[in-house]
Amino acid sequence: MRYLPHTPDDIASMLRAVGAKDLDGLFPTIPENCRRTGDMKLPEPLTEWELTAYLGALSERVAVSPEYKVFMGAGSYEHYIPQSVSFLLSRSEFVTAYTPYQPEMSQGTLQAIYEYQTMVARLLGMEVANASIYDGASALAEALLMAVRITRKKRVAVSSLVHPLYRRVVRTYFEPAGYELVELPFRKNGTTDLSPVDHMDGLAALAVQSPNFFGCIENLGEAAEKIHKNEGLFITSFTEPLAYGLLKSPGVQGADIACGEGQSFGIPQSFGGPVLGMFAGKMKYVRSMPGRLVGKTMDREGKEGFVLTLATREQHIRREKATSNICTNNSLCALTAAMYMASAGRTGMRELASINHDKAEYLKKELKKAGVGIPFDSPTFNEFVVEFPADFESTYRRLMEKRIVAGFPLASFYPELAGHYLFCVTETKTREDMDALVKEITP
């Protein structure tokens, strides 16, 4: 086996050195009644070429672009990934390193993550960002737990237009600890109804997603004001970071913690993971933050360098009193996002965001023209909700046979929205793609 370098001679001489008769003799400390009986029932080894053929065949049984036109986002977005980013990610000095516990040998990872933290903080208008959380959903759960710790209150309000799966994750994190989650309803225009917040006592935090699950841009400033009056923290969530290439940042609008999904920044969709939990906050709360942080420092010769820092928050030092149990995070995904942000820059990010917005507006307009309902009239970014007549389901299936996924049906998450579909348009869809879609929908 090519990954196992030991020759029979090596094994023999090493066994002699350790005083064992054979390889089975290396385990005298495992009692007989703890030994496995019988071999593992696993398939026999494949050659590199057999494996490639097998995986190739499996991968062909999945609907992906360009063969399929997928007009579906809902928390996972198809964006072009620059070849330079993919290429740089094959640098195995990044890929095959561990968490940078030994900074002198890990300056590459450390500077890159410091830069990532800085760019995320700037994108979101926050003072400090961590080195990453697993995904947007777990980032929101961690943010709410952080607010519970800071305020010592055990109840949070979360918009029902926060991604439904994110809310499910928050509930899972909250259940064993016994914290309470109250959901806020949404209004006719597709944004959160914030009015209940005024009358709620003991809120640790309010969480609002913008653009929200329906693609609508929320009034974050108003939400911030309400929850701050109520002495809770304002948490903003997002699934599409590219929106902040164009939109006012959460920080400018009063967020105490801004967190969400960073997959759009150069990370493949990969059936939902690995992706990137972005997490940023105000500096005054930094010691309550979860996750790794990289800081700048000096070496003994006065040369600038970077280290993991504020470890006294973390599990390996504080154990059960840590701010989170997180250890391995999604560092390589953070590196990817950093490469992507650096490649796009202010100029590219804003232009790309505008293209996404304009294309989605084009499809919205064309669908409207074709007589399809657009139920929510709030401004949107690159996603929006469409209301079809009840018999659309058969059209939806027919389109799939034609290799078009016409949005995401909302009824499974919002039973009251039967016949409503969430559409997404990114820069990967051309005007022709959209015209073809409209034509298919309204023959």
């Binding site: 196992l4 400390t29 593992m40 600890a177 995070n329 232009e351 505008s354 401004p379 990967t428």
Partner: protein, 485 residues
């Protein structure tokens, strides 16, 4: 000693991104703007985030230079204890990037994602077989996430049984993530000390186990690299009081095909695909932390679960007792592909051999270095061995000094100052993918360092001398945090 691996070479300085950028450059190919502009209300927008503008060449040079300041498994031996830094096969990287996998939208209907679902379903079965457990969830994103999932499963189990339990037993050798994960579920970790042999005694567990204790979190093999010989008895004690046994499987690399976790009394176990199953660690993730359970915990597993019917695969959330979800989607699929490829490339015989060779390498290092460094538990070890700096303290040299000097010899340091029960611990895990020649050079290098500790201790205190930077000031970094530029 053969010639040292460590040498000096030209690396390049590279400023921070924003010191390099120049407004007006752009490093991506912008797609065509083939529709009319439809500007948003000015109140909602800005002129774009404050990111530096760079060309594609700028970005490529930047990250290429940074990568050259790093050390990975592909650079050399990386014997971080409990981290299992084995070789990461290249074919796995290639196959994880197949368009049908990397381009898959997670909300595709089942009939459009059969290839993905089949792979995940089979991987669950393989992991169940390797661990001897009954069912697996692939959803947790990392080891600590798996621990949290496991704790939630235990919590849900006790809740269903109608009893709330407030404590959980955690050995003093446990990873810090263990008590932190337990605390997230509202459990108070009760420490149990390991005995003079470095393992848990049945008596110590029996003394603590009661009906207010949810169970025990045990790492086996433990972080001293020792097999918990009393595990079967301990499991019986815990079970007799209605508790459950959680096993941290971070060290599974020592026992594949040798121990069946299900048979020794483990109820729930997490694996680290980025350790045992060869997926790269990425400088701190992404990992993947599948959780394997025995039958009685299956109803509580996270949703959705992958189900198979007549060769067709689907995702199902029809499990009313499920704890819920740990991530928005199904876990780190991109990592799962690599672990799947590893298992299919190795087959049952080579997986078992990998564990045997990992144990052989660790014992070989232990035997060759135990005269040079203090070995607090001189017993047969599993996949790692733990030394201390006791002998070198005589020269006012610490573990930190020694491992910094080891860098100059071209090796990544082992895990240090952990486990906490060994003062000045040096925890060495070579893994099976290091050859005898590399290990011999590693042993010679550590011997040379130990010799320098005696002869020229200042050299160690000044180390490293061949890295991009000298020793960094971690204290002032924490005292005056500068976390963004």
């Amino acid at each position: 000693m053969k010639e040292s691996l460590g040498t000096t070479g030209l690396i390049l300085n590279e400023p921070l991104l924003w010191e390099k950028g120049k407004s007006g450059r752009c490093g991506i190919s912008l797609p065509r703007h083939d529709v009319d502009p439809a500007p948003l209300d000015k109140d909602l927008t800005t002129e774009g985030p404050d990111l530096p503008d760079l060309s594609e060449v700028d970005v490529v040079r930047h990250y290429t230079r940074l990568s050259q300041w790093n050390f990975g498994v592909d650079s050399g031996m990386y014997p971080l204890g409990s981290c299992t830094m084995k070789y990461n096969p290249k074919i796995n990287e290639k196959l994880a990037n197949l368009k049908g996998f990397s381009g898959a939208h997670p909300l595709l209907p089942a009939h459009l994602s059969q290839g993905v679902l089949k792979l995940m379903f089979e991987l669950e079965q393989f992991l169940a077989e390797i661990t001897g457990m009954d069912a697996v969830t692939l959803q947790p994103a990392a080891g600590a996430h798996g621990e949290l999932t496991g704790m939630m499963l235990i919590h849900a189990y006790h809740k269903k049984k109608g009893g709330h339990r407030s404590k959980i037993i955690v050995p003093d050798t446990a990873h810090g993530t263990n008590p932190a994960s337990a605390a997230l579920c509202g459990y108070r970790p009760v420490p149990v000390r390991s005995n003079e042999q470095g393992i848990l005694s049945t008596g110590a567990v029996a003394e603590l186990m009661d009906e207010d204790t949810a169970g025990i979190m045990v790492t086996n093999p433990n972080t001293l690299g020792l097999f918990e010989e009393n595990i079967k008895k301990i499991a019986e004690i815990v079970h007799s009081k209605g508790g459950l046994v959680y096993c941290d499987g971070a060290n599974m690399n020592a026992v594949m095909g040798i121990v069946s976790m299900g048979e020794i009394g483990v109820d729930v176990l997490h694996l680290n695909l980025h350790k045992t199953f060869s997926t790269p660690h990425g400088g701190g993730g992404p990992g993947s932390g599948p959780v394997c359970v025995r039958k009685h915990l299956i109803p509580f597993l996270p949703v959705p679960r992958i189900i198979e019917k007549n060769g067709a695969y689907a995702l199902s959330s029809e499990f009313p007792e499920s704890i819920g979800k740990l991530q928005a989607f199904y876990g780190n699929f991109g990592v799962m592909i690599k672990a799947y490829c590893y298992i299919r490339s190795m087959g049952p015989v080579n997986l078992r051999k990998a564990s045997q060779l990992a144990v052989l390498n660790a014992n070989y290092i232990k035997e060759n270095l135990k005269k040079v460094f203090h070995l607090p538990y001189d017993r047969n070890c599993m996949h790692e061995c733990v030394f201390s700096d006791k002998f070198q303290n005589a020269y006012k040299i610490t573990t930190l000094d020694m491992v910094k000097r080891l860098m100059d010899y071209g090796f990544h340091p082992p895990t240090i100052y952990f486990p906490l029960v060994v003062s000045g611990a040096m925890m060495i895990e070579p893994t099976e993918t290091e050859s005898k020649e590399t290990i011999d050079l590693f042993i010679d290098s550590l011997k040379a360092v130990a010799n320098e500790a005696k002869e020229n201790p200042d050299l160690l205190r000044q180390a490293p001398g061949r890295c991009k930077v000298t020793r960094l000031d971690e204290v002032s970094a924490a005292r005056h945090p500068c976390l963004a530029g």
